[in-house]
Symmetry: C2
Subunit: 159 residues, 2 copies
DNA sequence: CTATTTAGACAGTTATTCTGACCATACCGC
DNA sequence: GCGGTATGGTCAGAATAACTGTCTAAATAG
């Protein structure tokens, strides 16, 4: 008896990570737009993910954490200041330095983005099942913890 | 007896997908550079992932598949022609149209990138264990299959 | 107190993507 | 087989997102 060939899709490794992430990004920024943050762009997340939410952070610190140049980070911070998500205050500890700090609106944005992340996760759990979602989270956490210090070509950046 | 608090890191949902993907991208392009493709950039992958490897594809088709405008895709195709990864030939089926087709070098690039994807997967399996890797692949495949047609805000793009 | 390091700013460049306006060819209805 | 619409592609211009290089001012180490 011949077997019927069941074409089990073997996605390329890149697609496995890229497609879920791309979908999540598209969803997230669409929701942010609806919820009163139409002017926020993906690049801004490099700032929002790395900033000290209470005290604020120096551009230099943000640049290091995000793995980009000071100039590039300064550009992003400027644009967030323009949009009233950040304000610049002098750093009391160093007269050369300034702190970029979240405004009220900035804090709302960060809170909303966090809630949306959880919302997406719940949505996905609804599609694939809560058990599978928990297992996926477990495995991805293991992966993330296994990453640091692999290749000399670095790899702490993103979009 | 008091429990000792074990701080189980709960990563944000975004980080769960972003960090592995970013690490993979950094690794992949560092390896491509070493293996004779120093001039290839992340944006080019939108072309290489979507092109018909034998026949070649029209810019319009590539743009649709990659979820970008014809103009943007034309820019990427141009740059790959410049770098001798693609060549432009007339489409025999339509006198208006042209096909972008892989050159010998282009075919080598695609083959190398595919092999590197598998290599990275093996490397990761070595770190987290083959069983866990198989489970991760299973779950991510489920996720990718569950994605299409969610949000009106689309979501088929990436870097 | 001087030399070095650090924080940030300014200038210029490149890459990646978008919109809008076009042109030429193909295809469809009559 | 002609006229209108759809389709494939291009040109021009702009916005965004990074980069390198240079420079000033303040802080810190000896």
């Amino acid at each position: 008896m011949d077997e019927i060939e069941v074409p089990v899709r073997r996605l390329t490794f890149g697609a496995l990570f890229r497609e879920p992430y791309a979908h999540y990004l598209g969803w997230l920024y669409a929701r942010l737009q609806e919820r009163g943050f139409p002017d926020i762009r993906v690049a801004h997340s490099a700032v929002l993910r790395t900033i000290d939410a209470e005290r604020g952070s120096r551009v230099t610190t943000l640049a290091e954490r995000a793995g980009m140049t000071k100039q590039s980070m300064a550009y992003l911070v400027d644009s967030l200041v323009e949009l009233d998500y950040l304000e610049i205050v002098p750093d009391p500890d160093d007269k050369r330095a300034k702190l970029a700090r979240l405004t009220r609106r900035g804090r709302k944005l960060v809170a909303t983005a966090g809630a949306l992340g959880a919302e997406y996760e719940a949505l996905l759990a609804g599609r694939i099942g809560a058990d599978e979602m928990a297992e996926l989270r477990r495995l991805l956490t293991i992966v993330v913890d296994a990453l640091p210090g692999w290749t000399p070509g670095e790899g702490g950046e993103d979009k």
